[in-house]
């Protein structure tokens, strides 16, 4: 346990002599230590010389204020550790429990790598880190106030956990009950703050020494960045941050970070999966978070084309080009004889259906597939063993199961499939591809005709909303950073999504409030890559923590947010209607459009004014579809100039 001492036990010079400076091939020398150890000792002087001006002044003048710390702050060393990991930003809401490391980051660390981004809510900070990773492929860290800040952050941490996204969460906490300030800081302290999020983080720790911090921080980074990715937490004692480094005979060092190779499927299981796929009459590939990178998309295309197998992209990530003729809807599983699921968040619901319309409030379970269908799974989530939160979904028995990372396993699987295809199957496989091209073209026609329905309606149809947006961004290097609030999947159905950053998936845990901060975080990463960011922003999602709009304006993060403002919590609108029907009661509307408690109207929220108040360019409310194009065009110009812009559009429910 860290203890506070009224005075440092050793001087800065003595301490630095004890810090490791070289030698260990796997360690990094802290910069402060390097500078100090290269300084030469002052020459010895005789004691009988007359006093210098400084000595005379010290003896006769008013003493200067004594330094408040007798050595290098421990939090400076922490900054040295953090800087070795190339973490670019640190979105955070400031708090006393991490004031020492905050000060070190901006003064000692120069507010670079990481740069502190001021957030108005911890949920926004974690949400930003979530969105950022999906573009940059690198994690951010956040600092939050031990108990209260971590509780604010918790929902966003759960989303990151369910979405397999790494975030490094460091919570300030003052452990020393005998020395910490009474009152508010003690209300905000706990024995074990990590317990708040332990059920939905991959790993956590509470370091009690600086060396312990160095090891744990690098370990935390390494664990979070090993598939399956996930958030990690660290409780950071206020005393450890604030006290000077002390010489306890140990040489401080910073462990070198070496990425862990992702787990690959067992070669025997890969071979068996390939045999089943190569000999199938109608193999179907289902993907959810299969692609972790652009290369993942390329590999999936190779696998699908080798088999001429239909691909169902469940959209946890951008896995498969929407323009590819093998891209198919979820119903494609119905006639499959072999299904391979790659990083599925819910295999059971992929091959079964649950209908919320059974007797006594119990849903109806039905199968979607033929009984003899063989099932193959490659899923790194099987390596996670947390039990409390139910994100692992219902159990689904499969015929070949690999606890492995799908993208890392794909190269071996592709080679095994190519080797396993019998010569006499090649003509049939080619024919399968021809049928898929025809089915894809026909489906495309039906989709466009469906989009034409209610094209001129007011409020604006979701298809019109999506396509008016598309028309203004199609010539840019665009990235749809979030699409919240269910617009009937029109972007995925109509936009030519082909690149990894064209679609980032959803929240993971379906905790409302993800869209706004995640889109700002992803836009931050896109800004650094010179890419245009657009989001479909729903009303309910924005109202969870709208302060992230200010963060975007404050830190000049360009983002076009086109609002899907249907003025209701629409999922719940339908749930209450459903229960009213089941109970033979007319749903009470109370003067709103939806059942009481589910509408966001009376008064209508003027999101454009909300955004304007936080430094955004904004326009709305737009109810006439004919007014959409000029408004979005104007907003695009603003975003291209480097500012965020919001267009508030009244829309159909879905």
């Amino acid at each position: 346990m860290t203890r506070k001492h009224p005075r440092p036990e050793v001087s800065r010079r003595k301490f630095l002599a004890g810090v490791a400076v070289a030698g260990a091939a796997t360690a990094v020398t802290p910069p402060a230590a390097q500078a100090a150890t290269t300084a030469s000792a002052p020459p010895r002087r005789p004691s009988a010389l007359p006093p210098t001006m400084q000595v005379a002044a010290a003896e006769t003048a008013t003493p200067k204020e004594l330094p408040r710390i007798g050595g290098i702050p421990g939090s400076d060393f922490m900054v040295d550790v953090i800087k070795t990991l190339d973490i670019k930003y640190l979105p955070s809401n400031p708090a006393s429990s991490f004031r020492a490391i905050h000060e070190s980051l901006i003064n000692y660390g120069g507010n670079k790598m990481p740069e502190f981004l001021t957030c108005a809510h911890e949920e926004s900070a974690v949400g930003m880190a979530h969105g950022y990773f999906k573009i940059a492929g690198k994690p951010l860290m956040t600092l939050c106030h031990g108990t209260v800040g971590l509780q604010h952050a918790a929902m966003a941490v759960y989303n990151a956990w369910c979405d397999r996204v790494p975030v490094i969460i460091v919570g300030g906490n003052d452990l020393d009950a005998a020395h910490r300030p009474p009152g508010v800081p003690t209300f905000h302290s706990a024995q074990d703050i990590n317990a708040l999020v332990r059920d939905f983080t991959k790993w956590d720790d509470t370091p009690v020494s600086l060396q312990h911090f160095a090891q744990s921080f690098v370990r935390a980074y390494k664990i979070s960045m090993t598939p399956p990715y996930g958030p990690v937490a660290m409780s950071l004692d206020a005393g450890l941050q604030q006290e000077p480094m002390r010489n306890n005979g140990e040489k401080l060092y910073i462990p070198r970070y070496v990425p862990t190779s992702p787990p690959q499927g067992d070669s025997g299981a890969v071979k068996e999966a390939a045999r089943l796929l190569a000999n199938a009459q109608n193999p179907v590939i289902v993907v959810d978070r299969a692609a972790r990178s652009e290369n993942g998309i390329r590999l999936l295309v190779q696998l699908a084309e080798a088999l001429q197998a239909q691909v169902i992209d469940q959209g946890g990530r951008m896995n498969f080009p929407k323009t590819h003729y093998l891209s198919r809807p979820p119903t494609a599983v119905n006639n499959a004889d072999v299904i391979i699921g790659l990083e599925l968040s819910d295999f059971w619901a992929t091959v079964n259906a649950w209908i919320d319309n059974g007797e006594h409030g119990i849903g109806i379970n039905t199968t979607r597939i033929k009984p003899e269908t063989k099932l193959i799974s490659i899923n790194s989530s099987e390596l996670l063993t947390k039990a409390n939160y139910q994100d692992f979904q219902r159990f689904q028995s499969v015929d070949v199961s690999m606890a492995a990372d799908a993208e890392a396993t794909l190269p071996a699987l592709i080679e095994a499939v190519k080797a396993a295809i019998p010569d006499d199957r090649k003509a049939a496989i080619e024919k399968r591809g021809e049928a898929a091209r025809k089915a894809f073209a026909e489906a495309r026609e039906r989709t466009k005709q469906a989009a034409a329905l209610a094209w001129d309606a007011s409020p604006v149809s979701t298809a019109r909303l999506v396509m008016e947006t598309w028309a203004q961004i199609k010539d840019l290097d665009w990235s749809l950073v979030a699409s919240e609030g269910n617009v009937s999947n029109w972007p995925n159905r109509l936009w030519p999504m082909e690149k990894y950053y064209h679609w980032l998936g959803r929240s993971g845990g379906y905790g409302v409030g993800y869209g706004a901060p995640a889109s700002v975080g992803a836009a931050l990463a896109n800004r650094d890559l010179g890419r245009f960011s657009v989001s479909i922003q729903s009303d309910g999602d924005l109202m969870y923590a709208p302060g992230v709009l200010w963060t975007a304006a404050r830190h000049k993060i360009p983002l076009l947010a086109v609002m899907h403002n249907n003025r209701g919590y629409h999922q719940e609108v339908m749930h209450v209607q459903r229960l009213s029907n089941f109970r033979n009661r007319v749903a009470s509307l109370g003067g709103d459009m939806g059942p009481i408690g589910t509408s966001i109207e009376n008064p209508d929220i003027e999101y454009h004014k909300l955004a304007e108040s936080m430094g955004w360019w904004a326009k709305g409310p737009i109810k006439d579809p004919a007014q959409l194009a000029p408004a979005i065009k104007e907003a695009v110009a603003v975003v291209k100039s480097g500012q965020p812009a919001l267009v508030n559009v009244w829309t159909q429910p879905r």
Partner: protein
């Protein structure tokens, strides 16, 4: 009512609906109000255009007998509506409203859907 529906006044003319026990004049105008009041719009959209939560109901709605039977007994994703909460008259009015919704333009005539 702040919602603007895209069908003409002529289309609001009442239709005669049979098959609900007795013949009566169904009102598309009343049907429009009932469509909103009873929550049909929640899944099917304010112009019955459909979406991921429910299929399109118009244009070309299913025959009223099929429509009525489905609404009363569905064990699919849509919850059933009993006569207690949605009368036969209201249901007939809703069907009359659905019949007034015009066909959309061919998508090929919409530039944004042909890019």
């Amino acid at each position: 009512m702040r919602l603007v529906f895209g069908f003409g006044q002529a289309a609001l003319a009442a239709g005669l609906v049979l098959g609900c026990g007795s013949a009566f004049a169904a009102s598309a105008e009343k049907g429009k109000a009932a469509y909103v009041q009873h929550g049909c719009w929640q899944c099917h959209g304010l112009q019955a255009q459909g979406g991921v939560a429910g299929p399109k109901l118009a244009p070309d709605p299913m025959p009223v007998e099929t429509f009525t039977a489905f609404v009363r007994t569905t064990n699919r994703a849509m919850p059933p509506y009993s006569e207690t909460i949605l009368s036969n008259d209201d249901l007939a009015d809703i069907h009359a409203y659905l019949e007034t919704i015009p066909k959309p333009a061919d998508y090929k005539s919409i530039p944004l859907l042909n890019q």
